[in-house]
């Protein structure tokens, strides 16, 4: 092994061409002249290797520090004597003058001149910078060995410069030659005075020139963007400190603040100017244009990092300060846009507002204001003139009395206006939904505010529940005929949307039940499927409890159908076959589920005697009662003639001796009335009083039924004397043998009764009273439920709990809740706790 090692003797490195003449100064002489050559762009005549080797040798001589200092001073001299001269010479007097604030006005006139001068100056500066950068790159390359072999080792700073920067000397504070050269450039070129005797520096002129250019661009001129961009690169490449932290680069420390502050001024002015023009659409258009411009400017002309900052300036100066006014601008603001359906305008307003305000409160406020306005208009127009505008009544509890004088109105226009109300609201809702979707990017905040606004004005109309129910009634009766399933579905969904807004859902339920009862009993519903669909929709929307009773009504209907069939079979088996049978379709209704009071008109507290049926019918009634009570003992049947209908075959003796038969579909009352005339000889008459006495039909219903029979022109089965529109107690009625109709089957409707029209004032009061009773019950129940669970609860706590529990059905009136609490205390369900004021205890 030893022998082996000996053979492979390590060769000492040979000194290659070590010329004895090479001392430090000679080498530096060669090097320095070469560096000047580099600066004068004659590098192609130089050999990198030679320069590198020279620097290498110098460092090997342990003279690296001297080399560093010499390079540094060489650079300093070069910058001071050549570059600075070049740059300051390019600054024309006009640019210096522009520094002076007083002279700005006259500079305005010379903007073209100033601009040309500025461009020239910027070009020179840029040129100087890029030369400097290039040369320094080359010099650092050449000096690499010096840089690399410094004892300091690797420094950690700025890795983005052309080279890996390394510290030259033992003390690490010494910056790399490249960094030093940058500092030198900053001090000797940028910070040099423009004229020997002035304190304006090149940097000042530079800044003002660039800002001037930007201003020109804002005014619509075209400027040399790449030039400015390059100058910005220069600023970014220079730092305040040796350490070259990102935050200390000259762009951030000097130019950006200046730029932002001029922009702030500019946009403050622009905002004021635009407001003066007073056109919201223009404002928005220009504002969004400016936003786009500025961000483009940052991308193409300045530095991308400035984009959010200038955006913030725009937000503050141009938008935040002005948006509210813009939104409210008379005649052109948001309101105008909404009215004119200017989607683009709204979209811009939204975008602008969203920039400055997470909640978009300005826009939101205006939109909801407008909705409420429009909604109130609909409310007002839906209410017939003699009634007070419902907008003044805000109490949803409805215990406020309507002050306006009640007046008998034509029924149909009222109902129509109710339906129009719903349609109008739906149209409005559609419009805003569309706007919301298209312009407001389906913003959640706005959605909520739109919803709230709708809820607000819908509930201002105390009749909204009734109107909505009427709307359903109308559509389920007629509206859905000839429509496809999808259309029906959409229609019902629309209605449900409104139902969502209505706070007094219990009131709606009452009306709905009433209307539904009519539809079911009178067989007026166009489609049972649609009815069921409607219920399932309501169930989804409002909950099970809400539809329970409505569903029970449907159940009664099906049960009754079976019962009728059973009864018919029973009769067919048992009855005398000779007897002329009357077919009976019976509806057995569970009285608690159905709005009985709406059907039984116990008017003015007077007890209503049951209607006296003609003999044949009465027999039938008794027979059925027997049949039914056999099956279900212990039940009580009360007959609601007012809700029924009958098919009767009537024979008319014509004056020419012929007879003609018609099948009349009439209400039960009409049947009763008409059957009376069976016993009246031809030509004889019955007075109103007589009819009333013999039938016991309530006067109100009797009048209506007689009107249908004797006044309505197409269905005049009876003749009345005297011939007039109204039915008076003294009127006499004859059977009209000259009755004419093009059809064999004639349907004689009752002159539209209470259920299908808007309630009149009395009925309304009644409904409200009933409603209040019912609510009182619900409130008490809720109170007791809560207290039973809590045993002890403060007043406010109890109040809140009650309100939350009931809010899904209606908004309870606070006073009413208080009264209920009082009454419960009186009835000793609750007690006031002695030791704790305003606290209730539950008495088990």
């Amino acid at each position: 092994m030893a022998a082996m090692r000996a053979r492979h003797k390590i060769r000492a490195p040979r000194r290659v061409a070590t010329a004895p003449t090479e001392d430090f100064d000679t080498l530096w002489g060669v090097l320095s002249s070469s560096l000047i050559e580099i600066h004068t762009k004659n590098a192609s005549t130089l050999s990198f290797e030679e320069l590198y080797r020279n620097a290498y040798r110098m460092v090997l001589m342990m003279r690296g520090d001297d080399l560093y200092e010499r390079v540094k001073s060489l650079e300093e001299n070069w910058l001071r004597d050549h570059v600075r001269k070049q740059v300051t010479e390019s600054i024309l007097p006009i640019l210096v003058r522009a520094q002076n604030p007083q002279s700005i006005t006259d500079v305005q006139d010379q903007s073209n001149e100033r601009r040309a001068a500025g461009e020239r100056f910027l070009a020179v500066l840029k040129e100087a910078w890029s030369d400097h950068l290039l040369c320094m790159g080359m010099i650092t390359d050449v000096m690499m060995y010096m840089v690399r072999n410094s004892r300091g080792g690797v420094a950690s700073n700025a890795s983005n410069s052309l080279l890996q920067d390394r510290i030259i000397s033992a003390d690490r504070t010494k910056p790399s030659i490249l960094v030093v050269s940058m500092i030198l450039f900053r001090n000797h070129v940028l910070r040099a005075p423009v004229r020997p005797d002035s304190d304006i520096t090149v940097a000042h002129v530079f800044e003002s020139t660039v800002l001037f250019m930007i201003q020109l661009e804002r005014a619509g001129h075209i400027i040399d963007r790449p030039l400015i961009r390059n100058c910005m690169y220069m600023l970014e490449g220079l730092y305040e400190t040796v350490a070259e932290e990102e935050s200390s680069n000259l762009y951030l420390t000097t130019f950006e603040p200046a730029f932002l502050s001029t922009s702030r001024d500019f946009y403050k002015e622009e905002g004021a100017r635009l407001l003066e023009v007073g056109d919201a659409a223009t404002f928005c258009r220009i504002a969004s244009q400016r936003i786009a411009e500025e961000s483009e400017r940052c991308r193409c002309t300045l530095v991308t990092a400035t984009e959010p900052k200038i955006g913030e300036v725009l937000n503050n100066e141009l938008i935040r300060k002005n948006i509210e006014e813009v939104v409210r601008l008379e005649g052109t603001g948001v309101r105008h846009m909404l009215d004119q359906n200017q989607l683009d305008g709204l979209r811009i307003v939204y975008t602008l507002n969203a920039r400055v305000d997470e909640k978009k409160s300005a826009l939101t406020g205006e939109v909801s204001k407008r909705i409420v306005e429009l909604g109130s208009e609909i409310n007002v127009s839906s209410i017939a003139p003699p009634q007070a505008p419902s907008a003044t009544e805000k109490d949803p509890g409805g215990d406020k009395k309507e002050k306006a004088k009640e007046k008998e109105k034509a029924v149909n226009p009222q109902t129509a206006s109710a339906i129009k109300w719903v349609d109008d609201i739906l149209a409005l809702k559609r419009q805003f939904d569309q706007i919301w979707e298209k312009c407001f990017q389906s913003d959640q905040n706005l959605h909520k505010s739109i919803e709230d606004s709708f809820e607000d004005f819908i509930n201002r109309n105390t009749r909204s529940s009734e109107y909505l129910s009427l709307f359903f009634d109308e559509n389920l009766k007629k509206g859905i005929k000839g429509k496809t399933e999808d259309e029906v579905d959409a229609l019902l969904d629309n209605g449900i949307t409104l139902l969502r807004y209505i706070k007094d859902k219990d009131l709606f339920e009452t009306y709905y039940k009433k209307h539904l009862a009519r539809r079911l009993l009178m067989k007026r519903s166009a489609s049972m499927d649609a009815e069921r669909q409607m219920i399932s929709k309501m169930k989804m929307e409002v909950g099970n409890q809400f539809t329970q009773r409505i569903e029970a009504m449907f159940k009664d209907m099906t049960v009754s159908e079976d019962l009728s069939v059973n009864y018919k079979e029973h009769i067919a088996r048992s009855a005398d076959p000779d007897q002329k049978r009357i077919d009976l379709d019976i509806h057995i209704l569970t009285s608690t589920m159905w709005p009985m009071d709406a059907m039984v008109k116990a008017r003015d507290g007077q007890v209503q005697l049951p209607c006296i049926f003609p003999r044949e019918v009465d027999n039938l009634r008794q027979s059925f009662e027997k049949f039914y009570l056999d099956k279900h003992s212990g039940r009580k049947l009360s007959w609601q003639a007012s809700m029924g209908s009958a098919d009767i075959r009537a024979t008319f003796q014509r004056s020419n001796g012929k007879t003609q038969r018609f099948e009349l579909n009439v209400s039960t009352y009409m049947m009763v009335i008409l059957l009376l005339f069976n016993d009246v000889p031809d030509g004889e008459s019955l007075t109103f009083e007589e009819i009333k006495e013999r039938t016991c039909i309530p006067e109100y219903d009797l009048v209506r039924n007689l009107q249908s029979l004797a006044v309505a022109p197409k269905t005049r089965v009876l003749k009345k004397e005297p011939m007039s529109k109204d039915v008076k107690p003294t009127d006499r009625f004859f059977f009209n043998n000259d009755f004419q109709s093009p059809f064999v089957k004639v349907r004689i409707g009752v002159v539209a009764g209470g259920a299908n029209k808007v309630e009149n004032q009395d009925q309304r009061k009644e409904t409200e009273k009933k409603m209040n009773d019912e609510r009182g019950g619900s409130i008490e129940a809720a109170i007791v439920r809560i207290m039973k669970q809590r045993k002890k609860l403060g007043h406010t706590g109890l109040m809140n709990e009650v309100l939350t529990q009931l809010s899904s059905r209606f908004v309870p009136d606070v006073n009413m809740v208080k009264k209920r609490i009082e009454s419960l205390i009186d009835r000793e369900y609750l007690e006031r706790l002695e030791d704790e004021p305003a606290t209730y205890g539950y008495i088990a």
Binding site: P13, A43, T45
Partner: protein, 102 residues
């Protein structure tokens, strides 16, 4: 080799006149040579694509070029075989490596 500033191969010349023509990418493993050939700087080496290295003898430069190729071949690989370095050259190679910033 139409344009020496961009051509794929460069020529390295030793002080005693040996020329080695190797791919530019391989030569640029050396920091010194990379800077020497940087087209932006316009030194004569960059323009001609020919670097005369006065500090290196042909023997050393040969080994250097061998290393360049070796490095080029095995870059981004793990577990590469060691390159054979004659013991008598190792000091000189060290100096060359220092000079070339490799």
């Amino acid at each position: 080799m139409a344009d020496p500033t961009t051509s794929e191969f460069v020529t390295l010349v030793s002080c005693d006149g040996f020329e080695f023509i190797i791919p530019r990418s391989a030569a640029c493993i050396s920091g010194t040579i990379r800077r020497m050939l940087d087209p932006a700087s316009k030194f004569s080496e960059a323009l001609s694509g020919r670097c005369v290295l006065e500090n290196l003898t042909g023997i050393v430069l040969e080994k250097v070029c061998e290393y360049f190729m070796y490095n080029e071949k095995h870059k981004d690989q793990a577990n590469v075989p060691d390159m054979e370095i004659p013991a008598e050259l190792c000091l000189e190679l060290l100096m060359a490596a220092d000079y070339l910033d490799t």
